[in-house]
Symmetry: C2
Subunit: 275 residues, 2 copies
């Protein structure tokens, strides 16, 4: 796939870039972007073939801003990738464990490695806006008394050294990524497929229960529900729903028609193979 | 109420402190704490009478870490306060609008005031970990070329000046705060009351729909649903649910008994007057 390009947010060595290589194979060209919104825009404008964004971490929860972006930008979810996140403690060559006074990383990564960092008696955790960028920072500053927590690939990319691998508290650290494209690619069958929608409910009693009923009565499994505020309408919510099945399957199409009777708004985000 | 103390997270002038004054009246003594978890611990240990924490903003959404804290700490929700957040641009005395090169505040506050900041041609937005603390910082550093975005009360507290009021993009900016106590205080009647619970579902088809049915069949309104990951169980969720009614009302008690049939875990977080 020599001409395929994939937009991701972050710098080289970011987990999004590694997940893209896992999903597409290493021959695709990954393109770094500063903001998540930039990834959506690059896909929409056709400047890249695909985009990849994190939507949920198994320890930290949803990446809520990316739910908001899925609503705002007219792009389609065409796949997903569940990626095992493994953090490494990485340093400039020559730095030893006892030299470390500061450990830079994203606050979530620092929290996920709190047990390990706690054992480094002389070191304090310092928040940085991004994991891979914290590695880049330690490399470029040439620190001999600091480390970063990031991917092993970030160490390689910035000419650094992995001092310890798998420094996270819990092994069950997965991030689920969504693959974005300009056009939808609904799977032919429901087996192994899932679909994502977002909707707003009419102001009627038991509206959420009724909304979920349209799936229950058709034995369509709900996989995830996420609520987000509607700006300008305090204490009213948009619901993001993942359910099993493809939107080429009539059962799913009928469920959405039925859902339309109790919603003020529905947007289909995509139908795709489950990761 | 001279002996009542209320723990909040942040520094003097924080919106949490203002919301506490609004809820309890100005005679209560507010006690600043560094972390949200410290507020929960102070309540649990009886070091303060009450705690106050933000749970949701009408533009930015839920404060997810405080949902997690509600699960972890054995304290009770005994009230709520919906507080209108109004941001001010505050400076050290003598600083004029044209002098401002940097505007410090929490990233969410900066985002909420992006239109106003965008019109300050020479100024850039600088992220700070807290709104009131950004005011404190500008005051203590004595900057003549910087401003903070925080409450008008923060300006007063740190001897600063409000240069512009209501600099937020949208007027509908409310934060909902929860009042925490060591013991529950269930309201006598369901009218005007709400209850909050958290539960995990059995692994059965249509489990979430069935869970919501126990409320629907009793005509109990659902007010909010929020899902959070279960650490160590990727892609399984805890559900936080707010519903109308008091847990002194038999209808609500029966609904929770019924819910127990399809959950592996339920915790009651509290029953209280709706704000």
């Amino acid at each position: 796939m020599p001409n395929i390009t994939v937009a991701f947010q972050g710098v080289s060595g970011a987990y999004s870039e590694l997940a893209a290589a896992d999903y597409f194979g290493k021959r695709v060209k990954t393109k770094p972007h500063v903001k998540f919104a930039d990834v959506f825009r690059a896909v929409k404008a056709g400047r890249v073939t695909y985009g990849i964004i994190p939507i949920e971490n198994s320890l930290a929860g949803s990446v809520h801003q990316n739910y908001d972006h899925c609503l705002e930008h007219r792009v389609w979810i065409i796949g997903e990738k569940k990626f095992r996140v493994s953090h490494s403690l990485i340093v400039n060559r020559g730095t030893k464990l006892g030299d470390i006074r500061r450990v830079y990383s994203h606050p979530q990564a620092l929290a996920q490695c709190s047990t390990f960092i706690g054992k480094l008696k002389k070191a304090e955790a310092v928040s940085y806006f991004d994991t891979a960028a914290s590695a880049k920072y330690v490399a470029e500053a040439g620190f001999k008394d600091a480390a970063a927590i990031a991917s092993a690939q970030a160490a390689k990319h910035y000419g650094m050294q992995v001092l310890r691998s798998r420094v996270e508290n819990k092994a069950e650290n997965f991030t689920r990524f969504l693959i974005l494209a300009k056009k939808p690619q609904y799977p032919k069958t429901s087996a192994g497929s899932k679909s994502s929608i977002v909707f707003a409910l009419k102001n009627v009693p038991g509206a959420l229960h009724k909304a979920l009923s349209v799936f229950a009565i058709r034995e369509i499994d709900l996989l995830k529900i996420e609520s987000r505020p509607i700006p300008g309408s305090p204490w009213k919510y948009l619901f993001y729903l993942d359910f099993s099945g493809s939107l080429r399957d009539e059962r799913c199409v009928l469920a959405l028609e039925h859902l339309g009777e109790i919603t003020t708004f529905i947007k289909i985000l995509g139908s795709y193979r489950a990761g």
